[in-house]
Amino acid sequence: MSYLTLVISAVFVQNIIFTKALGITLTVQSISKPKQLFASGILLTVILTLSAMVSYYPARLFDSASLTLKNVMVPFVFSVSVAIISVVLLFVARWKFKKQYAMIFRQLPLVAFDSAVFGILLLTVKNVQGFVPIILYSIASGVGFVLASFILSGIYHFCNGENTPAAFRGLPATLIYMGIVSMAFYAFSAKILF
C-alpha cells in the first residue's frame, strides 16, 4: 500500500469517527466549542503519534507469542505508552507552554484517555505494518478526527434547536446525524450497502 493510499484511507475511507466510532465522547463533549475541538484534535494527533512511536517495538515483542497472550498484553503495552506520553507532555507543557498549561492540564486527560488514541493504536496492529506507515497512519487518523469533528460542529445548533423534540435534543439527535453521515462515508470504501 503506498503512503498516499494509506493517508487517504485513514482520513476518509476508515475515518475514526464515522467508520470506527472512536473519539465520539470527546467530540460530543466539545462539539459546541469549535476552537476547543481543534485544540483537542491537535493534542490527539501529537499524543497518538508519540504513543505509536514509543509502543512500536515493545508491542512487536509479542508477535511470536501465543494469540491469547498477545490479546491481553498488547493493550497493556499501549496503555503504559499512553500513560507515559501523557505525563511527559504535561511536564513539557509546564516547562515550555506556561500560558497554555492550565488549558492543557484540563484537556490532556480527556484526550489521552479517550477511546480515540487507544483505539487507533489497536487498529495499527492489524491494519498497518512498519514504523513509518504507522506514524503516517497515526497523523492521518488525527487529521481525520479534526475533519470529522468540524463536520459535526456545523450541525450542533440544529441538534440543540427549539425545533428538535425535547427527547432528541443534544446527544440523541447528534448520534442519529452521525449515523446518517457514517452511512455516506461507506461510499468511500465502495461498498454496496443495500
Binding site: A83, S115, G179
Partner: protein
C-alpha cells in the same frame, strides 16, 4: 442508646448507597452522559459480544476503582490518570483471559472494542466522579452501579441490533421476516443508540412530569 445510634447510622448508610445506585442508573453513563460510546456503538453487533464487553467492563471498573482510590491520596494530581490507566490495564489481563475461555473467539468477534474497555471515558470520567466518595464500600457500590448501567445499555443495543440485522438472538433464530445485515455496521449502532438515548430521555421526562403535583405541571 449506642445501639439505636448504630441502627440510625446504618440506615443512613443504606439510604446513601441506594441513592448512589439510583443516581448511576437514572443518569445512565452512556445514554445520558455520553460516556463509553465507542464500544456501545461499534462493538454491540450481537448480544454475545455485548455481554462479553459488559462483563469485561464490570471486572475492570469494579477491580480498578478501589485500588486507584487508595493510591490517589498518595500520588500527585498530574499522575492520577496515568496510574489509573495502568491499573485498569493490569485488571484487563485476568479479565481478558476469563473472557477468552468463557466465550469462543471473543477477541476475533469483538475486534478492537474488547480491549477498548481498558481506556475509555467511563473509566476516566467515572474515576473522577468516584473520588468524591469517602468510604471504600461507597466506591465499590458506585463502580458496580456505573458498570451495570453501561452493561444494560450495551446488552440492549446488542440484542436489538442482532434481531434487526441477523434475525437471531444469541445465535437462535427469531423468525425475522426481513433482516437488515447492514445494521451490524457502525452506522446501525449510531442509529440504534441514538434512538435508545431519545427513548430513555423521553421516558425520564414523562416520569418527572407525572411525579410533579398537578398544579405545577401547567407552569
Amino acid at each position: 442508646m449506642i445501639k439505636s445510634e448504630e441502627k440510625q447510622s446504618s440506615k443512613a448508610d443504606l439510604a446513601q448507597l441506594t441513592a448512589i445506585v439510583w443516581n448511576s442508573l437514572l443518569n445512565n453513563p452512556v445514554l445520558v452522559m455520553g460516556l463509553g460510546l465507542a464500544p456501545v456503538i461499534a462493538g454491540s453487533s450481537t448480544l454475545k459480544v455485548s455481554t462479553a464487553i459488559a462483563i469485561g467492563e464490570m471486572i475492570i471498573v469494579v477491580c480498578s476503582f478501589l485500588p486507584t482510590y487508595l493510591l490517589m491520596k498518595k500520588i500527585p494530581k498530574f499522575l492520577r490518570h496515568a496510574v489509573a490507566t495502568v491499573i485498569s490495564a493490569l485488571c484487563f489481563i485476568p479479565a481478558g483471559l476469563i473472557l477468552q475461555y468463557s466465550f469462543d473467539n471473543i477477541f476475533e468477534l469483538a475486534g478492537i472494542y474488547l480491549p477498548l474497555i481498558v481506556i475509555n471515558s467511563i473509566v476516566s470520567t467515572g474515576l473522577e466522579e468516584a473520588m468524591r466518595f469517602t468510604k471504600g464500600y461507597q466506591i465499590f457500590v458506585f463502580s458496580f452501579a456505573l458498570s451495570l448501567g453501561f452493561g444494560l445499555t450495551i446488552c440492549s443495543a446488542g440484542a436489538i441490533r442482532e434481531i434487526l440485522a441477523f434475525g437471531t438472538i444469541w445465535g437462535n433464530s427469531v423468525n425475522m421476516a426481513y433482516p437488515v445485515p447492514q445494521l451490524a455496521l457502525p452506522f446501525g449502532g449510531f442509529l440504534v443508540v441514538g434512538l435508545l438515548a431519545a427513548m430513555f430521555r423521553g421516558v425520564k421526562n414523562k416520569a418527572r412530569k407525572m411525579r410533579q403535583p398537578s398544579g405545577a405541571r401547567g407552569k
